[in-house]
Subunit: 114 residues, 6 copies
């Protein structure tokens, strides 16, 4: 596992643990909903993770992009497919998405090298 | 075809025609790119239209939502599938998406009744 | 009850009913969470509704603004207080919020005249 | 003056008057700042209004777009120039800007016909 | 004072000083307005800072979140109260807010340990 | 060339090269469009770069801001002019832009010192 992936996952795990210690019931429910929403259903996990990725890209949230990139990678999204997700994100969200796309390519390269 | 669908498509066609009359070369290229991006490729049109829909919902653009809803409907996205796209949009984008979700349901009902 | 308030509430009720008929379990949970979040707790309902209002204003969602304006009105937020919420929204969100502020003033006037 | 322009300006004037009657000192200062910011300075009014327009378009605020379009028209921005502003807005903000661009073209046509 | 808090405040002070040296009159007025808006008024400072925090969270501005978190802490917002602000931000803004919420919890922990 | 400018440009070049190696035809077209849009035309490059800057600031994209700041500097935008662009961005986008404005001032200082 590459350095960017490791750092992101470690921080995410550490703070999610802290959130579970400190948060209230509604926040815990919101986090639970965040998990069940991406579970296999009428749409498969691969499609849902691509939906989560494109939503994260047009909203320009680097951490959310990293999370869904890893899930997409695990679900077997290939280079040609991820490029088409990237293109939709750039088109819909505009050139303002490009810096996030650069970082996404770097992260995807690290995932692919693992 | 229902009233909401008809009004949206008529206005869209009218103004796109006017844009083709008045715009410059770069704008025409941008519109061409907007078409080719959603063409069948590594991902099929159905998946791409769901990606376009979820991106439009989290960015809260009613006209974009209407456009991709009709494409999703034509591509055979069913009720259970569209609900899962709606849920991802609501979750990622937050309760601020709900008013757009309401109007999306109304538009989807009209498409489904046609 | 004024015309704007009536139209908004009627459409909201109609479509929320339709959502309850057509949506999936996760969406229903999300809507339930949307209700419990604003319930009386460590912060009182009045404070929470002002928080919901300012969040809706900086995100520029007219329907969300209308909803929280009515709740604020019912909770007894007075003119001087609502002005301070409006000011924080305009300051944080910028002049892009002003058109939404105009419509909020019109809606608040209608609520106040009831 | 066309119908869209008239309706927008009438509502804007009516509600700005109401805001001056009901708002607090900070809001009045914010509105004053909104005026002085676009005054002739190191940059001329024409350039500033194009800056206001492109900012309004990428933030997708139809009323703000209408306001700056009229100012741009009055300042003598021509068709080729406004097209280049439109293109930057579409490129930076993405295809999500297109519905606002359609309405901008309609409004610009009405201004040009006056 | 913890490391995150110190770094943020030092950079903020340094650059605000530089802004006061280089900016124009309108910018100075805007900064003055940013101060007076949060002063004690019809709403108390504690409420206003929670309003500033929730607005900053849904707009996903980490620096703004840090600033208002420290003010909330100083004004005596307790853990149960800040959790309810966090929940409203997550609900209204969606899961896209979660990475900012993680960093907010880390910053709040540092403030609380001081 | 200062450290911030160098780091930004190096990373941007490295990842743009990687994008040209890995991306698809539509993405390459989008990047080409991103270049031609800012070319000299009915509006000169200086004006277009200020338009790109203000759009980047209200959308709060630090990397985009850095890119257009350097272009503005090269095109001869002076301190009084850049301040007026900064003011329009702060006014339209709100106080949420201020942290990005701080970093923009730091970057502009580095460009000016070169």
């Amino acid at each position: 596992m590459g350095k960017l992936v490791e750092e992101f996952n470690n921080y995410r795990t550490k703070m999610n643990d802290r959130i579970m210690e400190t948060s209230n019931t509604n926040i815990k429910r919101f986090f639970a909903l965040d998990t069940t929403t991406y579970a296999d259903g009428a749409l498969d996990v691969k499609t849902k993770e691509m939906l989560g990725l494109v939503a994260s890209m047009v909203l320009r949230c680097d951490d959310c992009i990293k999370y869904h990139l890893e899930k997409c990678y695990t679900e077997g999204v290939n280079q040609a497919e991820i490029n088409e997700v990237f293109m939709i994100a750039n088109l819909v969200g505009g050139s303002i998405v490009i810096p996030h796309y650069r970082r996404a390519v770097e992260y995807w390269d690290e995932l692919s090298a693992s």
